[in-house]
């Protein structure tokens, strides 16, 4: 079953703790275990742009990133394929993004019959 791990930083202005090696090790562990489906990390929040389309169909562009009132900021995601929620939670706990005030939200991926 596929789960998406949504990796959040604790706050938009949290110091950029660049534990690059830890992330590389985590990525390698996911690949070695054969559970990684896909994953990306996102660029800094200041580079984000939100698009909303109003009821009349006219696009409204907001340039200051996602909802400013949200303290937690999505920093990236991994999609993994594991047998059950416990396995997914274990990977989430190993993710460097789950420490230092960050968090990882685990969401099952909806799959539809074709």
């Amino acid at each position: 079953m596929k789960y998406m791990l949504l990796i959040y930083a604790g706050a938009a202005d949290a110091a950029d703790r660049c534990d690059y090696e830890e992330w590389v090790a985590y990525d390698k562990a996911l690949r070695d275990a054969g559970v990684l489906v896909s994953g990306h990390s996102l660029k800094d929040l200041t580079t984000a742009t939100t698009v909303r389309v109003g009821p009349g169909g006219e696009p409204t562009i907001t340039t200051d990133g996602p909802f400013a009132e949200t303290r937690e900021v999505l920093g990236g995601y991994d999609v993994i394929d594991v047998p059950d929620l416990d396995a997914a939670l274990e990977w989430a706990a190993r993710c460097p993004g789950s420490r230092d005030g960050g968090s990882v939200v685990v969401r099952p991926v909806a799959e539809f019959e074709v």
Binding site: M1, P83, D84, D86, P108
Partner: protein, 418 residues
């Protein structure tokens, strides 16, 4: 109804109580779906109610129920192809996760209820739903009964149970017993669920009655099952001991009018001797062979109260020492408060009151009526009646059940009168 039929009806009754959880667990293990398992388990029991009075009780009642339930499940799966495809996948994965116990270990159904204990208490489920699911799946209570247990409308409870089951199915909360390395992390959650069921039964948080024996007894029954399944886990033994040693006082805890009788004033002849004896034996087991656990120490404190012929003769220095151990394992303001009361018994009310007043700032005690009542009691004993009355009034505002309030009103009148 002839004798054989009556006997069969009685064994179905017993089966329903004792085997429903076991049957459900075995079906969940096999089909990986709680809803389907519940439906076919009920159907099998209904079929037994019809067949057994006619045919007699089969030699392996559990296996009979399992076979019947399994056939019903297969019928359903044939009718619902989409469901069948999904369950087939689940089943393959369940088999990969570990070999199923042989079908006739012990001659009848293998006991797989441990899976259900851990699934119902899974940390991914909302805390408020864990006890409800445990009562539903392991105690076999119907949803309206579970609703009554938690004093919520049946529709609300039905929604909560559906939501929890939905999460188990859709997020695929596994049906499995945690491995030895995970057990220390997961077992406390299971014990907490049982203890919260017990506590609600022993000292209801709201409602007309102080005690709800049905719930307390259900918690004890489930703790006994858990202990059979995990005999080496000393905290399971400690929890069972704690429940028994506490519940043994039930008859003395309320007066003829249903009012509260405090430990000091209880008629100790009403305490349940055999239950205390069993609890004491379990405490010894729980505290032997390793660092003491949370429930074991609490059980030891309960045992000291139960052993004493009276309040004055209680081994208070030992009680204080055990509270010190408890504070070291699990610091909490309520434990600190109880320790202060024990210190008051050992060293006098002044010493206890000083400790209680030191806790006054803790926000977790602000809404806790026993804290105000304990202060009031010590103030009374020190002859400071006006302050005692004020504390009783504060406690009255916070108390949730009518017997508690009636007791506090009585004490308030005494404090005002002196």
């Amino acid at each position: 109804m002839d004798e054989r039929a009556a006997g069969a009806a009685a064994s179905v009754e017993a089966m329903f109580r004792e085997e429903r959880g076991r049957l459900l667990a075995a079906l969940v293990r096999r089909f990986g779906d709680l809803d389907l398992a519940e439906e076919v388990a009920s159907e099998a029991i209904e079929a037994a109610l019809v067949r057994w009075p006619v045919d007699g009780v089969p030699p392996k009642p559990g296996a009979w129920l399992m076979t019947t339930a399994r056939r019903r499940a297969v019928d359903r799966l044939r009718r619902d192809q989409v469901y069948a495809a999904r369950l087939a996948v689940l089943q393959v994965e369940a088999d990969r996760a570990g070999p199923a116990a042989p079908a006739d270990a012990g001659g009848d159904l293998p006991d797989e209820r441990l899976l259900l204990f851990f699934t119902c208490a899974h940390p991914a489920l909302p805390a408020e739903d864990r006890a409800a699911l445990t009562l539903r799946c392991l105690a076999g209570l119907a949803t309206p009964e579970v609703a009554r247990a938690f004093l919520v409308p049946p529709a609300t409870m039905a929604k909560r149970i559906v939501r929890a089951k939905n999460k188990i199915r859709e997020a695929r909360v596994p049906f499995r017993v945690p491995g030895a390395d995970e057990l220390p992390g997961r077992l406390p959650g299971v014990l907490q669920v049982l203890y919260s069921i017990f506590t609600e039964g022993y000292a209801a948080s709201a409602g007309p009655d102080l005690q709800r024996p049905d719930l307390a007894e259900e918690a004890i029954r489930l703790a006994r099952i858990l202990r059979r399944l995990l005999p080496a886990e000393r905290e399971v033994t400690g929890l069972l001991a704690l429940m028994l040693l506490t519940y043994a006082r039930r008859a003395a805890r309320t007066g003829p009018d249903g009012g509260v009788v405090l430990l000091d004033d209880q008629d100790r002849r009403l305490w349940d001797g055999p239950m205390i004896e069993e609890g004491r034996e379990l405490v010894v087991v729980a505290l032997t062979g390793g660092p003491p656990g949370l429930y074991g120490v609490q059980a030891a404190i309960a045992a000291l109260h139960d052993e004493a012929p009276g309040v004055a003769a209680t081994d208070w220095p030992q009680v204080v020492a055990l509270y010190d151990v408890l504070l070291a394992i699990a610091p909490s303001p309520v434990v600190a408060m109880n320790r202060a009361v024990a210190v008051a018994m050992r060293d006098g009310p002044e010493a206890g009151l000083a400790l209680l007043d030191g806790l006054a700032e803790d926000p977790r005690l602000r809404g806790h009526h026993p804290y105000q009542a304990a202060r009031a009691d010590l103030l009374c004993r020190l002859g400071r009646s006006a302050e005692a009355a004020a504390a009783y009034r504060e406690a009255l505002k916070l108390a949730g059940t009518e017997p508690d309030r009636a007791h506090l009103r009585r004490r308030l009148r005494e404090a005002e009168g002196s």
